[in-house]
């Protein structure tokens, strides 16, 4: 493999989106992954495309990301199911009603078209929800993508744009000299590139250390639950005021229950394990929101690892004290905004004037 302009380390949604946009502008790009691409969080998350759970400051980016998701045939491929749906965020108690009002207001200020609606209005939009809600927040800009198809979709798009995909390449060393980055894997295989992008998700802390940069990246193992195929149980994408539930029903009838309930996970050996009480808590919340859900059966549970910085904001941009090295990661609800964040970073790398100051890694360094 010769004359690589940019090597992207980490082929999840952030890295692959960055690579895709760079390749579309003519650069020779290589995506490196220790596994197969999009098998980390990008391939196992709930696939929710919502403003309700997006961090307020990231709303403008999530909106752009949502637009990209609704038009995947234009820039990605047709190999992934994406659906636009109405999004309802529910409040069951007075305290939650207050929280919902406050949070929706803040999100609205950042540009999300979220409006508080009454119980009866919410029930008209989705008659399946628990009629004991106090109120709901409504947003049309909502929906989902089938996360497990992400890898297939990006592989196709990357290949069509002549991106070299190198899988099963676990980076153990990065040598930097003379306008060249030499990336070496655990078996001694080498890849040379003029520029690098670190997009290694939960492994960013480890990869950054290879460049003598110390940043703490927290890793949260989160449980996801999917039911068997069922007749229609809900019409909307459901979230709740405190943010700890996401519910959606796919075209194939299965219902996906998420919301960030923790399981146990070990980033080193990939081991993960369910915490039964958390599973049951998540299920109770889901069945409270959609009572008829209790007629179904859980088909499987899996865990994904989510990366988060100390201030729960993304890191995107140039790496300090290094030429031609960039980073993208730890984007909360990153699946929605990932495609757009990757595009932004690619524009930055191409020399365009892009303001990534909100995501500057230096804020996390002393």
């Amino acid at each position: 493999m010769n004359n690589i302009d940019i090597a992207v380390i980490g082929g999840g949604i952030n890295g692959s989106s960055t690579a895709l946009h760079l390749a579309k502008s003519g650069l020779k790009v290589c995506v490196i992954d220790k596994d197969s691409i999009c098998r980390g969080a990008s391939g196992v998350n709930a696939g929710t495309l919502t403003m309700h759970m997006t961090r307020a400051k990231l709303i403008p980016f999530a909106k752009k990301g949502w637009e990209l998701w609704m038009n995947t045939e234009k820039w990605l491929s047709n190999n992934i199911d994406v659906k636009k749906k109405n999004g309802l965020c529910l409040a069951f108690t007075e305290e939650e009603e207050k929280l919902l009002n406050e949070r929706s207001q803040v999100r609205k200020e950042y540009g999300a078209d979220i409006n508080i609606i009454s119980k009866s209005e919410a029930l008209k939009i989705d008659p399946n929800i628990n009629n004991r809600i106090k109120c709901a927040a409504f947003c049309e800009m909502d929906g989902y993508a089938s996360a497990n198809q992400t890898g297939d979709a990006y592989t196709k798009a990357l290949k069509e744009n002549n991106v070299e995909i190198v899988e099963n390449f676990e980076v153990s060393k990065i040598n930097n000299s003379n306008n060249n980055y030499e990336i070496i894997d655990i078996h001694g295989k080498k890849i040379n590139a003029k520029k690098i992008v670190l997009a290694a998700g939960v492994y960013l802390e480890k990869i950054l250390k290879l460049l003598d940069i110390s940043i703490k990246i927290k890793c949260f193992p989160q449980q996801l639950i999917v039911t068997e195929r069922m007749p229609e149980l809900l019409k909307t994408v459901i979230t709740v005021a405190h943010g700890k539930l996401s519910l959606k029903q796919f075209e194939n009838g299965t219902v996906l229950i998420g919301g960030g309930w923790p399981g146990k996970g070990n980033i080193e050996n990939g081991y993960n394990e369910t915490i039964p009480e958390n599973l049951i808590g998540n299920m109770r919340l889901a069945c409270h929101a959609i009572p008829n859900l209790k007629n179904s059966r859980v088909s499987r549970v899996w865990l994904g690892l989510e990366a988060e910085t100390d201030d729960a904001m993304p890191i995107i941009g140039e790496l300090p004290n290094l030429k031609n090295a960039f980073i993208i990661g730890s984007i909360h609800s990153g699946y929605t905004s990932g495609p757009y964040m990757g595009k932004l970073l690619s524009e930055k790398i191409l020399g365009k004037d892009v303001d990534l100051s909100l995501f500057d890694i230096r804020r996390l360094m002393n």
Binding site: S36, F92, H242, G243, E273, L279, I280, G281, R284, V298
Partner: protein, 473 residues
């Protein structure tokens, strides 16, 4: 039953292996719980009739007698029994979560013996998903446990001793077997006799069954397989092909029972992430075990056919061996007693291993069965994933079973790949020209069986839901 919260040892699976292991542990003073999703002990091979069936007279099937003895022994030894409990989660340490009619319950134990047996391997063919086509093992259960003949016209196909067992029972119960379609040759059967004779009781029984089948003039198609099944107005039309001369014959039937051997159930061991190895003769993927059935996880023992197919009699011995290993590891018996007791069993098992090899050779999956799967044949029944879909994923770069699963949805349905993992691996390995073991196995996932949400959530007040902190704004 008043269950304890914690036990010294929990045994999952009340078949011959699990029962013997539980009895051995209990006899040495351990507090033991045995869990099974069926209504009673016996596993699949000695599966008891439903609880509502009442014994009529002195006539008894031998298997029923064995099963009754198991239950009596378990009761006599004060072993707690949790029947009708389905295990949905096992965590290291060990915690076992189950559900039953009433709701959910969690138990913990220092040691865990997994004796969950096997599933039947059925290699797909065109039309195999037609209702009325059931497994040979399914047919066995209908006959022996539910005392019901599946239909007025029955054809059996596949390979191995279950063909004989099922044919015998259908005939014994007054039914009719219209054909036996066997992928093996008659010579292969005769060759296998040399191994099978090492289990004289089973061997003699088998010979007597074969006599009854021959005397009943059941048409036997050796070296043959079912290439196609089509639904007709009144039943199913079966296309039988001779593997050697490719001649085809079409026969009509009501019920087709098909089976190609057994494969160990590795749901729990894959979930616990213990080491596994691939052994085709032992049935496929099995957990890596030492000769006393210790797994790569401390305190976890895997026994019975789930440790590698060797039959019901060997299963009892394996259960005892695992129990002795457990007792030694817990310092309940010393080295001397351990060696004394286990050496006798190990010698017996050597004989049964040869018997098992004989059975395994009869159940060996011939390549003709795999070659017979055409592109439009469904491999994953839960998700309607065809051979063509699998081939496309492999062509697009999927390199192992987990990746193929991710891209095609095979194994994502409620059966979690139990029914199809073996055939998908065979198809993919043929395409990639690699060994089946290079494709790995599907990562084990919770829940081990579909988990009814109404049982999971129980009765609760909204305020009770353990909430984690609100997500950051």
């Amino acid at each position: 039953m008043d269950f304890k919260k914690e036990y010294d040892t929990i045994v999952i699976g009340a078949g011959p292996s699990g029962v013997k292991a539980a009895l051995k542990c209990s006899k040495k003073g351990q507090k033991v719980l045995i869990i099974d999703s069926n209504q009673n002990s016996g596993g699949q091979i000695y599966r008891a009739p439903p609880k509502s069936y009442v014994k009529k007279n002195n006539k008894s099937l031998e298997e029923n007698l064995i099963q009754i003895k198991f239950s009596e022994h378990l009761k006599k030894n004060n072993i707690d029994t949790a029947y009708n409990h389905t295990v949905w989660q096992v965590s290291p340490g060990f915690k076992i979560n189950t559900f039953n009619e009433e709701g959910v319950i969690e138990w913990s134990a220092k040691n865990l013996i997994v004796a969950t047996g096997t599933y039947e391997k059925i290699i797909p063919f065109e039309g195999w998903t037609t209702p009325g086509i059931i497994g040979l093992a399914a047919c066995t259960i209908m006959l022996k446990s539910h005392q019901t003949v599946p239909g007025n016209k029955i054809i059996l196909s596949g390979n191995g001793p279950l063909l004989i067992l099922v044919a015998y029972y259908v005939l014994k119960f007054g039914g009719k077997v219209d054909a036996i379609i066997d992928t093996s040759s008659k010579i292969k059967w005769i060759q296998s006799m040399f191994s099978l004779i090492l289990n004289p009781k089973n061997f003699i029984q088998g010979i007597s069954w074969i006599f009854k089948i021959i005397l009943s003039k059941v048409p036997i198609y050796s070296n043959s397989l079912v290439t196609k099944a089509t639904k007709t107005k009144d039943g199913i039309s079966i296309e039988i092909q001779n593997i050697k001369n490719k001649k085809i014959k079409v026969v009509d039937t009501e019920v087709l029972a098909v089976g190609h051997g057994l494969t160990p159930s590795t749901d729990i061991t894959r979930l616990l992430r213990v080491d596994h190895e691939y052994n085709e003769l032992k049935g496929g993927w099995i957990p890596k075990l030492d000769k006393y059935f210790r797994s790569s996880m401390k305190g976890l023992y895997i026994t019975g056919d789930g440790a590698g197919i060797s039959g019901a009699i060997a299963a009892e011995d394996k259960g005892e061996l695992a129990a002795y290993a457990l007792l030694k590891d817990q310092n309940i018996i010393d080295e001397k007693e351990f060696n004394n007791k286990t050496s006798k069993i190990l010698n017996r098992l050597k004989r049964y291993e040869i018997f098992a090899k004989g059975i395994a050779e009869l159940n060996f999956t011939p390549t003709s069965l795999i070659k017979n799967i055409n592109d439009n044949t469904i491999l994953c029944r839960c998700e309607d994933v065809t051979k063509k879909d699998i081939k496309n994923a492999v062509s697009n770069g999927a390199k192992n079973l987990n990746q193929i699963k991710s891209w095609t949805r095979f194994g994502m349905g409620p059966c979690q790949g139990r029914t199809c993992q073996y055939s998908v691996a065979k198809v993919a390995s043929e395409q990639l020209k690699c060994n089946v073991k290079d494709l790995g196995y599907l990562t084990g996932r919770t829940p081990l069986r579909p988990f009814p949400l109404d049982k999971a959530i129980g009765d609760f007040e909204y305020e009770e839901i353990t909430k984690v902190e609100a997500a950051p704004l």
